[in-house]
Symmetry: C2
Subunit: 255 residues, 2 copies
């Protein structure tokens, strides 16, 4: 966070106050010496971000494919040494992405991608547990409390939040959580993904990529996200606010 001196107008009164503001950096990913993408992100947990991004974008299947990541905090460059068939294809590198919302690039049409994915899992969770996890999740972010400028994502078991990450982009926050989970070899198939934002097909595709059985969001899904989730038999609990949970898909996993 960076502090700025700003003018606060409150009921006609002008005062000068110091306020913390979330930081944004343009992180350029170079894989094996070639530029792949530029992500606008909060400067914390950038190695998590790189790993999660390469995984959810389909470039790697596991963290072990990344030999090294070094971040240059002067030029905001991530030098990545990785093996992967895609990285041998020069065409990939002709697509330089700078993305929205502090991120969210994917390299395919998400509506085509996941037609054949089906979440086969007997994981179930009590509805009260989901509500309680979301309550804790909403109060978890110190940065959000201070700046109101970040989205959050988390990976939770039925008992507690295991990994929590903030970012100026909700896609980034999710990639950071997934990147950390990959590094620590955490299984996804008995976990719940929490997000502070809305669920588009791109957000849903990240969860599908991990084969997570349940996601819970404070925001609402789009129609494509609902359709994809129903096809894949993934549980979406959306608009989890107050005493309400809307279950758009896979209600049998909530009891």
């Amino acid at each position: 966070m960076e502090k700025f001196s700003v003018v606060l107008i409150d009921q006609g009164e002008r005062t000068t106050v110091e306020v913390p503001v979330s930081e944004e950096v343009p992180l350029t990913l170079e894989v094996n010496g070639k530029e792949l993408a530029t992500l606008l992100a909060t400067p914390e947990h950038l190695k998590n971000l790189v790993t999660g991004f390469l995984f959810t974008s389909g470039f790697i299947r596991e963290a072990a494919q990344i030999k090294s990541i070094s971040i240059d905090p002067e030029r905001w460059k991530a030098d990545i040494i990785a093996k992967g068939e895609d990285f041998a294809d020069d065409l990939v590198f002709k697509r330089i992405y700078t993305s929205g919302c502090g991120k969210g690039v994917i390299f395919h049409n998400p509506l085509d991608l996941f037609n054949r994915v089906r979440i086969v899992s007997d994981f179930r969770v009590q509805k009260e547990v989901v509500r309680e996890l979301v309550k804790v999740f909403q109060r978890y972010s110190e940065e959000h409390a201070l700046t109101h400028g970040v989205h959050s994502a988390a990976l939770a078991s039925r008992d507690e939040i295991l990994i929590f990450r903030d970012d100026i982009g909700r896609h980034n926050a999710m990639d950071k959580v997934i990147g950390e989970a990959l590094y620590s070899n955490m299984s996804f198939t008995d976990k719940i993904l929490l997000t502070s934002g809305r669920i588009s097909s791109e957000i849903l595709s990240k969860v599908l990529r991990c084969r997570m059985p349940v996601m819970a969001a404070i925001g609402a899904p789009t129609n494509q996200a609902v359709k994809l989730a129903r096809q894949a038999e993934l549980t979406i609990a959306g608009l989890v606010r107050g005493s309400k949970i809307f279950v758009y898909s896979g209600e049998e996993r909530l009891f």
Copy 2:
């Protein structure tokens, strides 16, 4: 909007309810027969979106450079006939973008782009007017009230909201407003841009591209947005909520 039958859990009770959900379509832009980008967007006002996107991404300088746009609602393809130096460059078309948050692609590093832009304008507006416009703005979206799944943007004079657009992505909502303004030859230099979301450098760059003097947001800016706005002498009123307005930049335009 599309209606889905979903399970509502409220205080232990399960009921089945019909809920409206915002629609998401993958719109592929083909300029002069060549594929440029795929945007995930709400299917309304797609010609506005195309025009605004081409303008804020720096491909066109005015709406007149677009000869025609035809939208195929079966394949979600926008066929655009346009003139512009950039479109003669084949390299541009090698970069196929699919973007985040239902959109937000830009073709440059926004932190480099606007170093030389300065908003020279004696436009001023009363703080009470900004607060009142934001109040009206927040209640304006029928779709948001129904689905909670869209962001909004608007262009306002000191008197009223002139153009209002919704989208599943906040970048798209802004591009739709700007596209409509370009078509109707509306001047930007005496207008206020309203947004329901946060202000990243990418969002700020769209406002700078139009030379709008004032933007007001319900969300917070990032540090880069504040720095760019101060350099460019653009007014940012952020976190406009309840009785409070935080003026991060250009306070002399609010009186």
